[in-house]
Amino acid sequence: MILLIEQVLNGLQYGAMLFMLASGLTLIFGIMGVINLTHGSLYMVGAYCAASAVLQSGSFLVGIAAALAGAGLYAVVIELAVVQWLYRRDHLYQVLATLGLILFTNEAVSLIFGRRPPLMDIPPFLQGSVTVLPGLDYPLMRLAFIGVGGLVAVGLWLLVNHTRLGMLVRAGADDREMVSALGVDIRRLYTLVFGLGGLLCGLAGVMAAPLLAVEIGMGERVLITTFVVIVIGGVGSIRGALVGALLVGMVDGLGRAYLPQGLQMLLPPSVADTLSAGLVSASIYVLMAIVLLVRPLGLLPARS
């Protein structure tokens, strides 16, 4: 039972990270119709900025500021310099351009920050574990991660449902042409949304940096899972991203925890290990396939 609760917390924490990445990606994909492969790189930029800022200043708060500023500004620069020229083009052009940007960003980051990955320790006030339940100590950093994920969800809900910008974002997700026809400066809205996506990536980067290795290519690894999340949740929908992120987080976490054990009870160990390793890797894609069979637009699509 304790193990189950711990694994659920692990799933929540992974889900929180996926949500921070997916909410930005789903807005960019849903509203602007841009397939942005650079999204993972923004997360890497955030992590690098945070790690080196913490290394220079020793303060985690400065690290957060650096990550948000770095990733947010880089997102705006990308949008203004490259992506905005491709809105009217085919998806293939966007994929090619943003794939190129991944390579560019990787090289640029290794030129600026060096090949040696910067080290970022867990800040002192988040070190160690707390007793969540009797017999269950859980790392404070991971709890903080879940907490920040919750705050981001609430914050985005307020932003999208109770502000003018949010209204435009929702309207944009429903019908881009109409919003633009009503005299809204759609260009500026796009830049803002792209920047917001960058900010969220930066936040995910700074939270992940103390737990994961900060390295070139860390963004590509998480990018595919993020796309799975927004496809499951429904493209363009923040609520969908939240549900998708939690679902993927749980399926991945609990699958990794219980699938090998379950199979070992049914099959001889040598077969079970190989099979479960494969099944665990595939579990989120199986989930995606099932969701798409039942609901081809995702669980909570923006345009139903």
Binding site: R116, S129, R221, G253, P260, P269
Partner: protein
């Protein structure tokens, strides 16, 4: 407009001339006698996150060169970056073979090695491996022109199994990524470990977060864990292991390439207290090792990793053989004999080559602890295997 195009033509012509000069120069140097340098094809990984390993390999190898000579014979290193892509490495090797190069080394990953070695051997070249020693080339498929100066991959894990026996662990959980090298690692460990394996957990190859696996380790309550996660995954694993509080109750045992000098820097305090199987560490107590560490620090202002040490020893092994044939590697039989004799002072201590031309050497149990000045170093605890070969040597038939 004409001025621009003519200046471009000049540049292009100069460029072509330079390329031609390179193409024509290479075979010339390889065909002439020992007076001109012997060219060594050196393909390694200098870019990508693993690029630091290639840098250490290159720098360690070059440290063994004395005024451009190895064993008194002038040598020229032709260094190529493979970007950790077997296809790139294969292309580079083919180019070098065509330009007449007969002696190769440098590759630092098993999968890249598998792409390079067959081509080199078919062309009648000699390959001396300075890092990977995959099982495929150690048994039936061994070759008289293929030497491994580092270790056979499995031996490292077998030494770890012996270490676990010595440390008195009875119930151990194993963790490795689900791919060939990961499975080989755990098989190697199981070959020598006498206790009980209470859990065998395979992780995903690109996994970055291990919280789920760590929770399972906690619930299994083993005496120790043995884990093999190279590169970034290894850094993540060690950091998260320390953060979860598990490192206080369950000791961690690793093969030493899961935690090199650079990774200690990236993990910080998390490396403290980890046990590792090793053939050499910066703290190895012999004069050759001390001189090497000092010279490396002086030349490159950083601490050498085991990769640098392996490259340095390999360079000296090649040097000893070059000396024996006075730089004329067309006397291939004599060159091979000299390599097989391995007359050189290895930084790691005792060293000889077995029947499959893989090393027979000592393996140690080491521990990462803080030294007097507060740095984490890999100290030698004790020897776990003496004159240890590998499990595949018996299957190798070299005429």
């Amino acid at each position: 407009m004409t001025r621009i195009s003519s200046s471009w033509q000049a540049v292009a012509a100069a460029f072509l001339a330079a390329i031609l000069a390179v193409i024509l120069a290479a075979p010339a140097s390889a065909q002439s006698g020992p007076a001109t340098p012997t060219t060594i094809g050196f393909i390694t990984t200098l870019s990508t996150p693993a690029g630091y390993i290639g840098e250490d390999i290159r720098d360690g190898f070059q440290l063994a060169l004395k005024d451009g000579t190895l064993g008194g014979v002038p040598v020229k290193l032709q260094i190529e970056d493979d970007s950790l892509k077997p296809a790139n490495a294969k292309q580079a090797a083919d180019r070098m073979i065509q330009s007449g190069i007969k002696l190769f080394t440098g590759v630092n990953f098993s999968n890249v090695l598998a792409a390079v070695v067959p081509g080199v051997l078919e062309a009648g070249g000699v390959y001396v491996s300075l890092n990977p020693g995959p099982s495929v080339f150690a048994g039936e498929k061994c070759n008289r022109n293929y030497f491994v100066a580092s270790y056979q991959n499995d031996a490292f894990h077998e030494a770890a199994g012996l270490s676990a026996n010595l440390l008195g662990y009875k119930r151990v959980v194993l963790l490795a990524p689900a791919y060939q090298a990961g499975r080989d690692a755990l098989e190697g460990f199981k070959r020598t470990f006498k206790g009980e394996i209470i859990g065998e957990i395979y992780t995903k190859l690109d996994q970055t977060d291990f919280s789920v696996e760590l929770a399972r380790v906690r619930s299994l309550q083993p005496d120790a864990i043995y884990q093999f996660h190279p590169g970034g995954a290894g850094i993540n694993f060690a950091k998260q292991y320390a953060n979860s509080g598990l490192s206080k109750s369950v000791p961690m045992l690793i093969p030493s390439f899961s935690m090199d000098a650079r990774m200690i820097g990236a993990t910080g305090e998390a490396a403290d207290g980890i046990y590792a199987s090793a053939i050499w560490t910066t703290e190895s107590d012999n004069p050759a090792s001390k001189a090497f560490v000092e010279a490396f620090r002086k030349a490159y202002s950083r601490t050498p990793t085991m990769y640098a040490q392996q490259a340095y020893d390999t360079a000296n092994l090649i040097g000893s053989a070059l000396k024996a044939v006075n730089g004329d590697i067309s006397k291939q039989a004599e060159f091979r004999d000299a390599l097989r004799k391995a007359h050189f002072t290895a930084v790691r201590g005792k060293f000889s080559l077995g029947p499959n031309q893989h090393p027979i050497q000592d393996y140690y149990l080491t521990k990462f602890v803080k030294n007097a000045s507060g740095e984490i170093v890999q100290t030698v605890v004790r020897k776990v295997a003496e004159d240890y070969g590998d499990a595949y040597a018996a299957r190798c038939k070299i005429d």
